[in-house]
Structure formats: C-alpha cells, structure tokens
Point group: C2
Chain length 294, copies 2
DNA sequence: TGTTGACTCTCCTCCGACGGGAGGGATTAT
DNA sequence: ATAATCCCTCCCGTCGGAGGAGAGTCAACA
C-alpha cells in the first residue's frame, strides 16, 4: 500500500491529479483510512493508472476515459473511439494549417506594405445569412455612375417608406437574377436595401425595374472593413486581392459593398465605413475545374 | 447608434460575447444610456470589432488581442506576435501529428492481436527522473539466472537494512558503468534497489561487486505495465517492439524492468506487476547517425 | 392608453482538468 | 519534545463565454 505521494511519483503525476481522479470516480484508491482520510493505493492499480494516462495523452476527456476503462464492453468500443479521435485530430490539424495560412497571408501583406494603409489587418472570413432586399439592377458605363441608381431606389422607398439598414451594392454577374443586359458594354451594378423578413412587398415600382429578391446566404465570405472614401477602397480591394491569391482562394460570386456609414449618414467621406464582401472558395485543382466545365 | 443585438448580427457574434468584451475592456460601446444601462454601438466601431474577431480567429487570447488593438505601438509588435503565434501553431501541429501516430500505432496493435493479451493498451511515454540505487552487475549465460544476482544483492541489504522501493533490473550494455565483461558470452544484467537520495553510502560489500550509482534520468521512456509472469512479459516485449517500429522510435539505452509487485511481495506470479521501460528516441536519418559514429 | 412581444439589463452558475493556497491533523525523524 | 514532511478538506482562479432567472425598456399595434 502506497500513500498518495509515493503512488504519484511512480508515474510522474501530481497528487492533485490523483485526488481529482478519485473525486470524479476515475481511479479510487484501493483503501481509504476512515480515521485520517488518507488515501492508500496498491501497486496493482498501476496498470489502470497507466491506461488512464495513455488515454489522456491521446486527448480524450476524462469522461471518455471513464467509459473506456470502466465499461465491461470497453474493449469493443475502444477501437471505434480511437478512430473517432484520430479523425478529430486530423480535423484539428487541418483547421490549424488553415489558421497558419491566414496568418502567413497577413504577415506577408503587412511586410509588402498593403496592410496598415489598406486595412488588410481586418480581413475576416465569416458566414453571412440570406437577406431579403429591395433591389435595382442595371448595366452602367462605369462604377462612378451608380449614384443615379441610388437616387432612383431611394426616391422609390421614400415614397413607400419601408426599408431600414445599410445600403448594399453588388458588382459583377447577376446572382441568380436576370436584371441587366450582360451583352451590353459597361459594368453590371445592383443596388439594394434590406427589407425586414416579413415586410409586405411594396407595389411594383420604377416601371418594373425595382424588385424584391433574396440575396443568397454565403458560407465563406472574405470581408474587409474600411474607413474613408474611394482612394482607401481601391487599396482595400488590392489588399483583399493579394490576400486571396496568397491564401489560395478564388471569388465564388459577385462581390458586395455594404455601406455601414455612407452618404445617407454623413457627407464627410472620411467618416464613411464600408465593408467589402467577396464570397470565396478554396482554389480547385485544374482536374476538378475541367470536370466542371464539361 | 445600434443596439447590441443589431451590432452583434452585423458580424455574426453573440450578444453575450459583446457584453463580455465590454466587461473585459476589449470593446466598449460608443455610448451607454445611464438610465437604462443599454449599450449603444456606432458603425464606426465595426473595423475594431472586425480586427478583434480576426485576431481571435488566429487563436490569440483576448488578453493578447487587447494589447494588439489598444496599444499605441501595436503596429510595431503585431508582426512579432503573428510570427510567434505561427510558431506556436506549428508546434501544436507537430504535437498532434505525434498524438496521431501514437494512436495509429495502438489501433494497429489491437487489430493485429497484440493488444488485449499483451497489455499494449498501456504503452505510455513518460519522463523518469534520475534514481540513486544500490546495484550489482554481471554477465550471465541467460536471463533466467538473474535470481542469483537478486539473492546476492538482497542478502547484502538485509545485512545493512537500508533500501526500500521496487526492484529494478537493467538489461543490455552498461549505462555509463563499467561492470560486467562485454566480451564475455551471455547477457549483461544489472539488478538494483532504490536508495533515498541522501542515505549514507553503505560499506563496500560483496567483494566490491555491489556499488552505489545513479541511474540517469530519461526524458522519453516508453513504458508498459504488465500483470503476470514470464509468458505475459514476453508478449509485452513483442507489443512494445511492434509499437516502437510502427511509431518510428528506436531504443536509446538499456531497458529496465521495474518490479512493482514481485517475488518479494507474493509468490503468486499472476499477482505480479512489472513495468517495462525502454528509453526511446525518434529514429534518426542516416546522415545524422553517420555524424555520430565518427 | 394600455398591452403585447421583442429586446435588454445585471447577476448567478456552469463547463474541464486541474493548480495554488489556507488552515489543520498525521506521521516520521531527530 | 519538536521540527519537517506529508496528508486532509475546502475554497478560489483559470478561459471564453453559454444558459438562465428576474426585472426593466422599447417600439408597435389596438
């Protein structure tokens, strides 16, 4: 019979740990003195402790270890548990490698000078939910003309007075919609205002140009938030582009600009806060791309 | 000014999280209503929140994030922190790959039948400290003859009545010692009994055959604990051998057998508890081995 | 004007696997 | 007898929030 300190030193565990394992019922001492409360362990408990420590080393929780060492049919499930745990570790390794690549992309961005001026410090991958919006789409000669679209849309909502929330602009090919004329020269631009999910649909307006639709949810959206006007935005786009290339990501849909603080809030451009959102996916190998294009 | 719920939904964080960040001083609301206690956030705080979430996503603690977003000279240290964090993640990945290889070694051991009978479920890598022992070394024709050494050593200690603790046998080449004759046919065996660190050295005994020495500490010791007698031990050795090969480990010193419960405690062999300890190192590439052999 | 219903507040407990320490009894060696 | 060591129980802290209780606030609707 060994006292707790001697038993602990045999396997380089702490006395606290043994007391805790007693408390949670994982490893009860062979005997406890009723007068003094002293715990006495037997050397024949060493194999059990050994097994517990090994499973702990594998990363199992003490609860899992409890089922693995106590159950009568533990032998039957231990292989399954080990394989499950192996999959978990593989998943964790993948996640950490991903983390690492994001960190490296950022450090490179800072070194090459994109970062502090262009807000690359705030590239964040997040999920965005679907969003019901009132939208107006058109193809214009260049980006700077979108003010006309905004005036048209805002004029319409002021007539009916419904929406709230940040203004959103979408650029590039239509996202499941049919507005605009892709064959026309110029750029496709869609301006949108969020609608509450259960708001009644306002009457058809603007000669059918203004529609209610739902922006698709995006599972992985690369986002940069930027203060300031057009010059800063251009830099932010450059930084985001660099970030995507460096991390092996490609855009998987039309980009968005969310104007959290925009002209409707203040005319001072330096106060504006704009979020650039680009849906991304991991770059696929050519073989995969070929599969798709056929 | 946004209420907490609106601000939270902009970035898919929970209200609880924002309240917690307020509490720890990481992100204070732009305004708090003194009457009601309501927190109001400004859209211009979005870049800060964004940065915080990105750093959280990188795995920094909130405390680290606090220094990175609050400090005046945060720009100067952020690159260093990122590189430090990258090293930490690399280290974590290495550790997890190691875990994975140990798990795979064990699942293979179970599948190939070593495990349940041979105690392979208890292979554990641990550190063992240096140990002062009273030791007797000799070269004998085979392992079964070691009983003679034990009798000689135990007879000696009963005369002087000092040591306590588990009996230890060491097999193979001398570990810094000079006992035995390596050129003789047979196997080198050392039997030892632990001595308290400050025990006085007993007088020279057994015609100089019994010495006091210190077993070296071992940083990585592969251990199996086994109940039973010689048949079980042989299987345990086989399992341990298989485990080492599978995990790319090679022995880096003489193996030990620690008799936690042995003949001195009970004659019933099935009650015996023996720990096999083999110092290991990761298998080296030939280049490294060549370096050493010169 | 009252009444919902959604939102928000503070305060409390809980999670895992122990570590640190206070305050007090037990054992062992001098 | 005394000192040193060991052991006990009990309580608090870790990290980043989640969950819930009980109460107050806000906006819209009848």
């Amino acid at each position: 019979m060994l006292r707790i300190g001697a038993f602990a030193s045999l396997n380089k565990v702490s006395v606290k740990t043994l007391r805790y394992y007693d408390e949670v019922g994982l490893l009860k001492p062979a005997h406890i003195d009723e007068q003094t409360g002293y715990r006495y362990y037997s050397a024949s408990q060493l194999p059990l402790l050994h097994r517990i420590l090994m499973l702990r080393d594998f990363g199992f929780t003490l609860q899992q270890i409890g089922t693995l060492v106590a159950g009568e049919q533990a032998d039957r499930i231990i292989v399954a548990m080990l394989e499950q745990r192996a999959r978990e570790i593989e998943e964790a390794i993948r996640a950490e490698q991903d983390q690492l690549s994001r960190i490296r992309a950022l450090t490179h961005g800072i070194r090459s000078g994109f970062a502090r001026t262009a807000g690359a410090l705030e590239v964040l991958v997040k999920e965005v939910p679907a969003l019901r919006v009132l939208s107006l789409r058109d193809t214009l000669p260049d980006y700077d003309q979108q003010g006309r679209l905004w005036e048209e849309l805002i004029g319409y909502v002021q007539l009916h007075g419904v929406p709230v929330g940040a203004a959103i602009a979408l650029y590039g090919e239509a996202e499941g919609g049919d507005g605009g004329d892709p064959s026309a020269s110029g750029v496709a631009i869609e301006v949108a205002l969020p609608l509450a999910p259960e708001d009644p649909v306002p009457p058809d307006g603007g000669g059918g140009r203004i529609r209610v639709r739902t922006l698709a949810a995006v599972r992985e959206m690369a986002c940069v938030i930027q203060r300031g006007g057009q010059a800063e935005m251009t830099q932010a786009y450059a930084a985001l582009q660099d970030w995507m290339e460096r991390g092996g990501r490609v855009p998987s849909g039309p980009g968005r600009e969310v104007h959290h603080v925009g002209f409707k809030d203040t005319l001072d451009v330096s106060e504006h806060v704009t979020e650039i959102q680009i849906p991304i996916s991991v770059r696929e190998v050519p073989a995969d791309a070929t599969e798709r294009s056929h």
